[in-house]
């Protein structure tokens, strides 16, 4: 089939789903709404598959299918077509989006079956899918931006889906506004690129920049990437703009799985992978990205340790994992970033859905302190969750191991990397293992701590099937990217398929000669760190359940700081938001009312004052008037005679 039609179908299907559900938004029929939405999503998935295979049949260098539907904005030198490209990167992305998306849609049917407005929910979900596809398929930065803002919009709508709760509505707004801060950076980045290179189309940019970069100053390029990175910190929840993501957990859990774990939040990573052939010419930008990513990974992981809300733990884990991806981007390991993006999509979506299943079972309870021992009640959920757990903490041969390990190795070995970056990454890996195991221990293992009136039950098949599929993917998803050193010793010598696939479209940094021994050693270290973290958590929360409290008490202020998320929200509130509101009120009341209007009134008052004066002068005395005349004549005469 013609790829244009496929792309069109891919995009239109969720849009139609949106229209269908959007128009009957009052309907309570979750099954109809869900089925339509899932079908739409699944059609897109089929199209993605078809496109993927079409792409696969092409020679590696020619693997891009572009179709431009119409010119969107044509002004001056700016010509933005509504164009979409499927290439190696976007093919993976659309497969993830529609694949994981379909599963989550399916899961949602069960999850949202008792909701008041399921149609609206599915409409938003489809709309999100559409926007996400636009984001990854766009063949220029502006179309990507369309999707970029569009997903933010859907995220806003879905976070605030249960808008009657002011906190949830506020969370939606926080997400949108924080994203907007990033978007502003994105815009400026785009402007710089446009005015430096005269185009916004990826293919042109990526062709042009390597050509001209030798002869021109790369300052604008670095600056552009830094601004784009601000955009990415917003969308992909990096320091300093990550604060919205934990709050975004106010949305329905499948939304968290789809938007805030698997797809939308990875848009920043996608963007940088997409631009990586140009990014490599901006090493300073890469440095910033790498350190921001590493710092985010560690900070979020430490916060994750102290959280009690199951979704919040996962949210911080997401932030942390995204930090990994940016670390990879920053050190030039674009393939690894994309790889981790994919495996993370599998296991994090799995865990979110699993947590959804748990929450569903626990009647909207999210506090892990009130859970425990759920293994008995939710066997399938537990089993799949374990797979995800193993994947995220990086136990071979689960998916997360391969991607995370590659990132750590590159952080160590890449010319952009350093031992410090590796160390942060490794430390984060240990923390990750710790808090994930803690999550497992508190939720599924040990004794149950919930009340007698709660009767957890396993979720219906529409919810467990996606869990199982994602569980499977969390196991095997990493096998497409087995590192060379590992592949060399495995039977059949599997090569790094993923890297090979992406090779033509991503940037490459010059590598040192791979040190095989070091790589093995580091692999061992990271796995053992993960194991250590996991054991420590297991020991703390199951074997000696009183230990955490003691530790927390001992650490005192440090613990409180971490548990309160380093007071970042409070910091923003106090030093950013409150001053902003105060300033606004002040300028309204002082500048508008007291200065500008006062000046206006002053003009009026001046006239008024003059009027009083005029009234005084006009005193009604005939002889005063005659005197004015006489004086007038005298003055005129004097002046005329004197000057004349």
């Amino acid at each position: 089939m013609n790829h244009a039609i496929l792309i069109l179908t891919l995009l239109i299907a969720p849009l139609l789903g949106f229209a269908f559900n959007g128009l009957r938004f009052r309907s309570h029929n979750a099954y109809l709404a869900g089925s339509v939405a899932t079908a739409a999503s699944f059609i897109s998935f089929l199209c993605s598959l078809a496109l993927f295979f079409q792409l696969k049949d092409l020679p590696p260098e020619a693997r891009h299918l572009t179709s431009r539907f119409f010119d969107w904005i044509v002004v001056g030198d700016l010509r933005v077509p509504f164009g979409f490209t499927v290439d190696q990167i976007s093919a993976i992305m659309i497969l993830i989006i529609t694949g994981v998306g379909s599963l989550i849609h399916l899961f949602s049917i069960g999850y949202m079956s008792h909701d008041e407005r399921p149609s609206k929910y599915f409409a938003y979900l489809n709309l999100f899918l559409f926007n996400m596809l636009v984001l990854v398929l766009g063949d220029n930065l502006l179309i990507t931006f369309v999707g970029w803002e569009g997903v933010g919009l859907c995220s806003y709508l879905l976070i605030g889906f249960w808008f009657s709760d002011p906190a949830k509505a506020a969370a939606g707004m926080k997400a949108f506004v924080t994203n907007r801060i990033g978007d502003a950076g994105f815009l400026i980045g785009m402007f710089i690129l446009f005015f430096t290179y005269g185009t916004l189309t990826y293919s042109d940019l990526l062709q042009l920049i390597p050509q001209v970069v030798e002869s021109t100053w790369t300052g604008p390029l670095t600056l552009a990437f830094l601004f784009l990175f601000i955009g990415a910190t917003g969308k992909s929840a990096q320091i300093p703009l990550y604060v919205w993501l934990p709050d975004a957990m106010a949305g329905p859990t499948p939304v968290s799985a789809l938007i805030h774990a698997a797809t939308m939040v990875t848009a920043g990573v996608y963007l940088f992978v997409r631009l990586s052939p140009a990014l490599i010419f901006a090493p300073h930008a890469m440095e910033v990205i790498a350190w921001t990513g590493a710092a985010t990974a560690l900070v979020a992981a430490t916060i994750g340790i102290t959280q009690w809300d199951i979704k919040k733990i996962l949210a911080y884990s997401t932030v942390s994992q995204l930090g990994y991806m940016f670390l990879a981007v920053g050190v030039g390991a674009f393939g690894a970033a994309q790889f981790h993006l994919m495996t993370h999509a599998f296991f994090k979506a799995l865990m979110f859905l699993g947590s959804g299943s748990v929450i569903h079972a626990m009647h909207e309870e999210q506090d892990v302190r009130k859970m425990g021992g759920l293994r008995k009640y939710l066997p399938i959920t537990h089993f799949t969750f374990v797979l995800g757990w193993l994947a995220i903490i990086g136990i071979p041969p689960f998916a997360g191991f391969f991607s995370k390990d590659e990132i750590l190795w590159q952080a160590f070995s890449s010319p952009h990397g350093s031992k410090a970056l590796w160390f942060v990454g490794a430390l984060t890996a240990a923390c990750t293992a710790f808090y994930m195991t803690r999550l497992m221990a508190l939720t599924f293992w040990g004794k149950s701590r919930f009340g007698k009136d709660v009767h957890p039950h396993e979720s219906p098949p529409s919810m467990t099937i996606p869990l199982m599929v994602l569980g499977l993917l969390s196991v095997i998803g990493g096998w497409v990217g087995i590192p060379h050193v590992l592949g060399a010793v495995l039977p059949g010598h599997p090569s790094n398929l993923f890297e090979g696939w992406l090779k033509p479209v991503i940037g490459h940094v010059a590598h040192h000669e791979p040190n095989v021994i070091m790589e093995w050693a580091l692999m061992g270290v990271s796995v053992s760190l993960a194991g250590l973290g996991a054991w420590f958590a297991y020991h703390n929360y199951l074997v000696q359940p009183n230990l955490p409290k003691a530790v927390a008490a001992k650490l005192g202020p440090v613990y409180r700081a971490v548990a309160n998320k380093y007071y970042v929200d409070e910091f923003y509130d106090r030093f950013l938001i409150n001053p902003l509101i105060a300033t606004s009120k002040a300028i309204w009341l002082y500048i508008d009312v007291n200065v500008i209007d006062k000046v206006t009134y002053f003009a009026g008052d001046l006239v008024s004052g003059l009027a009083s004066f005029a009234k005084t002068v006009q005193n009604g005395k005939t002889q005063s008037y005659a005197l004015y005349m006489a004086l007038g004549v005298a003055i005129i005469m004097t002046f005329v005679m004197w000057r004349g």
């Binding site: 904005i73 605030g160 939606g172 707004m173 300028i587």
Partner: protein, 530 residues
Amino acid sequence: MLLSLLIFLPVLFALIVAMLPEKVIRPASLLMSLLHFALSLVLFYRFNPSSAGLQLIEKTPWLPTFGVNYFVGIDGISFWLVILSTFLTPLVVLGSWTAITEKIRSFHICLFLLSSAMIGTFLALDAILFYAFFEASLIPMYFMVGVWGGARRLYATMKFFIYTMAGSLFMLVAIIALIFMTQEQLGTMSASIPDFYKLQIPFVAGDLLNTQTILFFAFALAFAIKVPMFPVHTWLPDAHVEAPTPGSVILAAVMLKMGTYGFLRFVLPIFPLAAEYWAWLFMLLGVIGIIYGALVAMVQPDIKKLVAYSSVSHMGYVMLGIFALNIYGVTGGLYQMLNHGISTGALFLLVGMLYERTHSRQIADYGGLAKVAPIYTIAFIIVTFSSIAVPLTNGFIGEFLILLGGFEANKIFGGFAVLGVILGAVYMLWAVKRIFFGAPGKLVGGGGDTGHGGHGVHAGHGHGHAAHGSHDDHSGLDLEIGAREMFVLAPLVILIFWMGLFPSDFLNWSKASLDHLVQNRTNYQLNVEE
């Protein structure tokens, strides 16, 4: 004939309305305004978008001694503004169906006269004719605010009138100076704008008191007040808040555009050197307007005032775009004028619909509206998205182009203007959150204070009746909009997406003119196509 018909048909309508029986005024006005709109659509057949010149010219001597003519014509810059004016009138008639209950005859007369004056302003190619329409448009609006307005309407309408008049009278003096300049330089006195373009007005860079600079500021002041630009914007919030819904809609949607249109029609082409020299000032004021308007909008307790300040912010974008003096900025500026007309017009209509039902505009009185009025909420949110420039809505195209242009012209101003994108989201979404989300507010059937009291400075102020336990009155209110109101909003919502998705459909009609304006800025001439 077409253009004169467009200008003066509403006058005829006004006369007809004056004679009709009271009962049929509304439907008849609707019909007539639709007819007017239909007539304006004929422009699509008669207007040649590939030409940058002035078309459909009509020229009759009016005051030949001073070279003043009744001279009208259209080009790509005025094209859409005319359509916007005619397009909004039927919507306003329909939108005021229940909002205006008193003196409906006078109201519709005002409306039609206003429509005539506005279209005249956009079509006039003679400076005096322009001035005449520009000033004449004040009067119906003055009455609209003053007669059908809110509690402080007298203050607001007077402020509006005096502010605008103050600016435009200086412009009159400048126009006179230009007329005499045509006599000196071209041999014959002429007040026609194309002749003004031919003038070589002396300009000395760095000198404040040279002819071009003085005249430039005389014009710029008049238009800046109309736009309104910071710091001469304070009439706008007052006028908007006090105006009745239709008045607000027309004021925001069309009248403010007279100012920005004036910049495009007069200021840039007639005073190219001064405009270029002072562009930084206007860009700066534009940027200040963007941020200032947004910040002040954020803390408004009154929805209408919030929208009014958002207008200040949006018009700041337009000014930034126009004074970027490049094709992106100017195109974006023009597009943003239309966007603002549609989105702010729609917002005022929406606020009016709510006000009609609850008689409160205090944000603190609302909350949880989304639950009881979902369609209204959807419409409001769509318009909000347009207002905050979410891609694929019209607002994005305008803002993006303006920011692009602004950034090209000046990196610092462009960069700061981008902050407006953030702040815009903040104030609109915060308002949306407080009005539509959360627990039901006291006018939405909820309790009196549900944690919203803290936001509103005027919480509970003036709504004592609601606080006295007459909740039943409010919970019984049907806050959802009806079919008529949906009809009013539907075209606007459709346009929001149409303009967002296919901007070329719109920009192609103006492209030639705008390209011409930007490319030949320092030596601007307009062909008059007979």
